[in-house]
Symmetry: C2
Amino acid sequence: MLIDKILDQIYILPETSKQVLKSHISEVKFPKGHVLFKANKTESSIYFIKKGIVRAYAYSEDNEITFWFGKEGDPIVSMQSYVNTKKGYEDVALLEDCELYELKTDKLQSLFLEDIHIANWGRKFAEFELIKSEERLIALQFNTATDRYIALLKNHPSIIQRVQLKHIASYLGITQVSLSRIRAEIK
Amino acid sequence: MLIDKILDQIYILPETSKQVLKSHISEVKFPKGHVLFKANKTESSIYFIKKGIVRAYAYSEDNEITFWFGKEGDPIVSMQSYVNTKKGYEDVALLEDCELYELKTDKLQSLFLEDIHIANWGRKFAEFELIKSEERLIALQFNTATDRYIALLKNHPSIIQRVQLKHIASYLGITQVSLSRIRAEIK
DNA sequence: GATTTTTTTTATCATTTGTTAAATGGTTTC
DNA sequence: GAAACCATTTAACAAATGATAAAAAAAATC
């Protein structure tokens, strides 16, 4: 997805502000398997996915748990780094070869203080991420793993087509064996 | 908690901007049991809790599930109303007599477009809510109900002292019977 | 302060999910 | 295209959680 569309979906900026913001965004490419964010590190950039699919995961005891998938148009952000300049708790790894838009956090922070339109763009960016986070939280608390698998199948079929089931099982909070049972049942 | 402290904890505003923002905030009181937000309604205000404790809940089939508790200093927001002017899915009810600070959403929205400092205050407000939402999401996905009960006991003991266990069980995603078993075990 | 009502705990049994291991199916590599 | 490797499904058993009901404890009401 092109950067103009990604930026516009968040908040329509006046043309001058948009050009300023875009002047700080560059394109980067990484191969499948590349680890973009490392846990316990303060990340200095945020990204938007032009092409590809990625996952965020963290470790609990010795097993890793996937808690987010990103695909075309989605932002990749280590929230603790972005909001508090603190170390993040997550790895983000690429599940496919990816093309990304990169934006340095420190540049963005100074733009927030200089340009009211960009400040409001940043506000809407956080607000939309908040809405998404809340929706995931509600889904996790209200729906069974079966419900959430069916919802994923319906709303994000490309995730299920493009991602290994072990990651999806982990994302749903169940074992791979349980996911297999669910898949066998709903057929 | 006083409004100055609540506002400052989010983002330190220049004195003039702070006075403008405060001029739109008023104090209101409601008795225990009052339903502040109603599901399927677009709410026109956000609140900050000066004194008291509240819960947000929604219905799944016929049983209600509590998914948030708020206490002194916390904001009360129907995110769908606040961000998208859409209907919320949650009720918010007061568990004690409460004193609240009220801020009309439409006023705040126009201030965002007029004052860059208030826009950045609004950005930090959303960002901090996002951090809290992510932390809850991670806790829900990574930790067992027992872990989360112990964390609640440690980090928010006043919730457990002041709220009925049926609401806490629902918040933890388990039955009241299971919570009783957990409480019996960790003693 | 005794009675009624509500909240919390305990007990029993059924159901669901996890664990481990083996079998099947699919990809990649030489 | 056979061999090796990885992903997914199936099977059997164990452990954890839910459902229901009853008992105990606590709170509210008169």
